[in-house]
Assembly symmetry: C2
Homo-oligomer: 194 residues x 2
DNA sequence: CACAATATGTCACCAAGTGACACTTGTCAA
DNA sequence: TTGACAAGTGTCACTTGGTGACATATTGTG
């Protein structure tokens, strides 16, 4: 065992690259920042960067994928008695801790993503990974009736859509309102379609 | 007026390029098809292609944007008495005519999009344009209360999410089931959240 | 210490776009 | 009809994201 030192360095470098990239992206813009710009100050080769990140966009969104497992566990931990839609909402709500941790950074990130088409697309792509994984988990706790998978998928997709809208609302208001209020209002809209 | 001959040719070439591209993409795959592959048989220069389409992905999804206006008009035409969510559902339902027109092609397209990450991202990007435009229209017919914009956005987003799931279900089942049934089931899941 | 596994750097290369400039071809007014 | 302007096109050079191959370190293990 003890795969310690190598992995530690690896993660350190990876997060350093990501940090540096986001820094530059928010400062000069995504398209205007070249890979060499990112890699130069860190004395790392371009090739190495692309061994850690599949694409330039992933420099921004790699952490999305790392969060997937956490979300899955969160959903699995929800009580069986809870309504499925509510379970997903609460699961997504758990992400707010990252917004609490560093609101300014979260705000900058979402604004950057919204301002750059390429990043917007990627973020949706990552979101669809969450959607798929969470739907898988949710399906397991649904009665085994025909259309179970579809029900699970729609439930997750709707909750995610509302989540995104809630976050967007918060972002568009420059982080002024309480993010939990934004989110709750978004979720309750979905509950209102008789 | 009478901007006839030039525009006609322009549109003709554009659709020809798109057709050729999709043909090759479905045949050899998106990444495996190069721009020169597309452009060669049509005796058109690479540069010209990129004057008609901003990106390689747009060769597949340009029609998405052209549909936006149609969707907007469709939503505006829905009766004021209808529940907002239902209006959006019906609006999206109107897209089915394109699936009816050529189911095989529609199936091939959605499968292609699902199989290619780059295309998946782009399709979400385009979907978000629909979302924004439709939300704008919907907001106008909602009571002018605080949170109106958020309500409109969530309503549209939820309907779109369900729509996508319904189409996905149909696609995953290889177009066997009735697409309208898939869609209706997806929509009714959203209606079922207490 | 020696050996295998990994991470890294270098270099050459491909493909997606872009900018600049010259050339052709519809369009329309006189 | 003609002549001038606008719009579309081709060519070419160039930038940039991304990959494959190979050599070189660096590190964990017996």
């Amino acid at each position: 065992m003890k795969e310690g030192l190598r992995e530690k360095r690896k993660r350190q470098l990876k997060s350093e690259l990501s940090r540096q990239a986001i820094q530059l992206f928010t400062q000069k813009g995504f398209e205007e920042t070249t890979i060499d710009d990112i890699v130069g100050p860190l004395a790392v080769s371009k090739r190495t960067l692309f061994r850690h990140f599949a694409t330039k966009e992933d420099l921004v969104f790699a952490w999305y994928e790392e969060l997937t497992d956490e979300l899955v566990r969160e959903l699995e931990a929800r009580p069986r008695t809870e309504a499925p839609f509510e379970s997903v909402c609460e699961t997504l709500r758990s992400l707010l801790k990252y917004y609490d941790e560093n609101p300014k950074w979260a705000l900058a990130m979402t604004r950057l993503a919204k301002a750059t088409p390429a990043l917007l697309g990627k973020s949706f792509e990552k979101r669809s990974i969450w959607e798929r994984e969470l739907a898988k988990v949710l399906a397991k706790r649904l009665p085994n009736a025909p259309g179970r998978d579809l029900t699970a998928r729609v439930t997750v997709a709707a909750a995610l859509a509302a989540f995104t809208c809630g976050i967007d609302e918060w972002t568009d208001s420059r982080g002024k309102p309480d993010i939990r209020v934004c989110l709750d209002r978004a979720f309750s809209v979905v509950r209102s379609f008789a």
